[in-house]
């Protein structure tokens, strides 16, 4: 008990020192029992740790999930490169079993918007089926089609069209 008290007191000194040097936003805790402050600080450290991990996860998410897969004109078949990317995503999804994603199917602007809705749907489903075959639970993979409604590149040329024929992944 006493041991813990002294340790708490020591931490309190260090912390108050820190508070004074880093910020003057908070009044130094004067007469609060040291144990509570220590707990608060421990919590704070934990929170920081959590945020750091969150940021790391975010980076991983971005690198894995933000990569779109692309399709040929009027096709929903997965190209070899797309399968590679989906395998990476599957790996990441297996490591993060608590994450669910929305797979968005998109088309280029050519074609009528109702047929492109169907095509976008098929593109999202192709990606979904491939991930399910790799062992990712279907319940974690929702699909939606945006057809030609949300181009990644709004220009009207072959380059933009290539970019826009895609399946995009977003955290649900």
């Amino acid at each position: 008990m006493t041991n813990r008290f002294w340790r708490g007191l020591a931490i309190l000194f260090v912390i108050t020192g820190l508070v004074f040097t880093t910020s003057c936003a908070k009044r130094p805790v004067k007469s609060e029992p040291g144990v509570t402050t220590a707990e608060q600080e421990a919590q704070k450290a934990l929170e920081e740790q959590r945020l750091r991990e969150e940021r790391l996860r975010q980076v991983a998410r971005e690198s894995v999930l933000n990569q779109d897969i692309h399709f040929q004109f009027d096709k929903s078949r997965l190209l070899p490169n797309a399968k590679e990317i989906l395998r990476d995503k599957a790996k990441w999804l297996r490591a993060h079993p608590d994450v669910s994603v929305i797979i968005e199917g998109h088309c280029d602007e050519r074609g009528t918007n109702e047929y492109n809705m169907g095509l976008g749907d098929r593109r999202a489903r192709s990606a979904q089926s491939f991930l399910v075959d790799l062992g990712i639970g279907r319940a974690r993979l929702t699909t939606i089609s945006y057809g030609e409604e949300k181009p990644a590149d709004p220009r009207h040329n072959e380059r933009a069209w290539t970019k826009n024929r895609r399946a995009h992944f977003a955290i649900d």
Binding site: I102, G111, T112, N113, Y115
Partner: protein
């Protein structure tokens, strides 16, 4: 949005009641009216040369010259919109407006036959304060006889409604079919940024915003009684099918995984078909007007979208890529038989069954351009209706089957245009900020 709609409703009800004070029938209809002047079923119409002189002021009030110009011009535009008439240039008129009367006895019909006019529409009006009295008469100049005569009383601001009423009478008498002056056109517009549904009068006047989703709203479809509008929207990042009452604040949402798109109401029923993909593949399903999924109407591994019902509700056309590329198919619901309709070209979509049942308008791709085509239900044709004018998409028939509205990029941004069903007289319907797509022509609406 809804509350504004309701305000409009009560105001328009008042106006309707007011216009109903219309004093009907100036002269009794004679039994010899059976003659049909215009056969709307003919593939190529001869436009009837028609004269519409400036309306006569029946009261000697000052400052009404502008009104008479406005009324007569508006009537001219309205009848010209049908594509049935060739308007005779007023410059060529022989009649002295000061001496001219409104009745058959006071008209020298030779003045009109000499300038080539076969029909003559005479109008007169007076207004006291806010009260407007209008007399309108349609004459056959060669027979020298009255075909339609009407007298209306209303408020000054009701003049559009009054003139539409008279034009409806004129079209009914000349063609034997009610016209389209009490119809509207719904469409998608990006006027405020997001894609929202708007509704305008048949001639593009008076556009007003119907949805306020703040996201992507698409594929408006009218129920055959004109009371409901079904559409797709992407609120809450899910695609959903909405079935909304036009005037009252009620409706249903069907939210499912995948896509819920291209609703199409069955004629005469509170039920609709739509393409849904919640079971894996976009297929056509039958839904009740309350949004309950009744059953599958198509079953295939391909993409099935864009159903369009035949007027008798027994068959529907739809788009499927089951043969490799998008083509139009027809399914007979009772017999369960599917047949392919289009064979020319690799990309045929957006079928719309003509109200007379014999044709299907659709969008086809040729040489990198999307254009509107017309094909017989038996596969005859097809004939190309638009060409060399940007991309042309989303055809929709006027309920009498004489006109087709569509979207086109011929002027750069996508806008709504109208043409006669044979492809002639293509003209822009309205000018609005942003881009307009997905027009959908309403059935004839009651109380207009």
């Amino acid at each position: 949005m809804i509350s504004i709609g309701c305000k409009n409703l009560s105001r328009s009800h008042l106006s309707i009641i007011f216009v109903l004070f219309v004093t009907l029938v100036v002269y009794a209809n004679r039994p010899c009216q059976a003659r049909v002047y215009i056969d709307i079923n003919a593939p190529y119409l001869r436009k009837i040369p028609t004269a519409v002189p400036i309306f006569k002021e029946m009261a000697a009030e000052q400052g009404d010259a502008q009104l008479s110009q406005m009324f007569s011009n508006f009537l001219t535009e309205t009848i010209a919109f049908t594509g049935f008439f060739k308007i005779v240039d007023r410059e060529s008129f022989l009649e002295d407006p000061k001496e001219a009367g409104l009745t058959g006895r006071t008209i020298n019909f030779k003045n009109w036959t000499d300038v080539g006019a076969e029909l003559l529409i005479k109008g007169g009006f007076k207004h006291e304060g806010d009260v407007l009295k209008v007399e309108l008469r349609l004459f056959d100049t060669f027979g020298g006889r009255l075909i339609v005569g009407r007298r209306y009383t209303g408020r000054l601001k009701d003049h559009r409604r009054i003139i539409h009423r008279f034009c409806s009478e004129v079209i009914l008498r000349l063609t034997g079919h009610p016209g389209i002056f009490n119809t509207r056109i719904a469409f998608v517009s990006t006027t405020t940024g997001p894609k929202e549904i708007y509704i305008a009068d048949f001639d593009g006047h008076n556009p007003r915003q119907f949805t306020n989703t703040g996201t992507i709203t698409l594929f408006p479809a009218w129920s055959s009684d004109g009371r409901w509008l079904a559409y797709t929207d992407y609120k809450h990042k899910r695609s959903g099918l909405y079935i909304r009452h036009i005037k009252e604040k009620r409706g249903t949402a069907v939210k499912l995984e995948g896509s819920c798109i291209t609703p199409a109401w069955i004629p005469g029923k509170f039920a609709l078909a739509a393409s849904l993909s919640y079971q894996g593949n976009p297929m056509i399903y039958l839904l009740s007007g309350n949004g309950k999924i009744m059953r599958k109407l198509t079953r295939h591994w391909g993409i099935d979208v864009a159903p369009a019902w035949s007027p008798d509700g027994k068959e529907f056309a739809f788009v499927s890529d089951r043969s490799g590329s998008p083509q139009i198919f027809i399914k007979n619901v009772e017999e369960g038989i599917v047949r392919r309709l289009t064979y020319k070209g690799n990309y045929n979509t957006s079928p719309q069954w003509s109200p007379r049942g014999n044709h299907i308008a659709y969008v086809g791709l040729k040489n990198g351009h999307f254009d509107i085509y017309l094909i017989g239900v038996d596969g005859s044709g097809p004939i190309q209706l638009t060409r060399d004018a940007g991309n042309n998409e989303s055809p929709t028939w006027s309920p009498d089957g004489t006109l087709i509205a569509f979207s086109s990029t011929r002027e750069g941004p996508s806008r709504i245009y109208v043409m006669n069903a044979n492809g002639t007289d293509q003209r822009r319907l309205l000018l609005l900020e942003g881009e307009q797509t997905n027009p959908s022509w309403s059935p004839r609406l009651a109380g207009n």
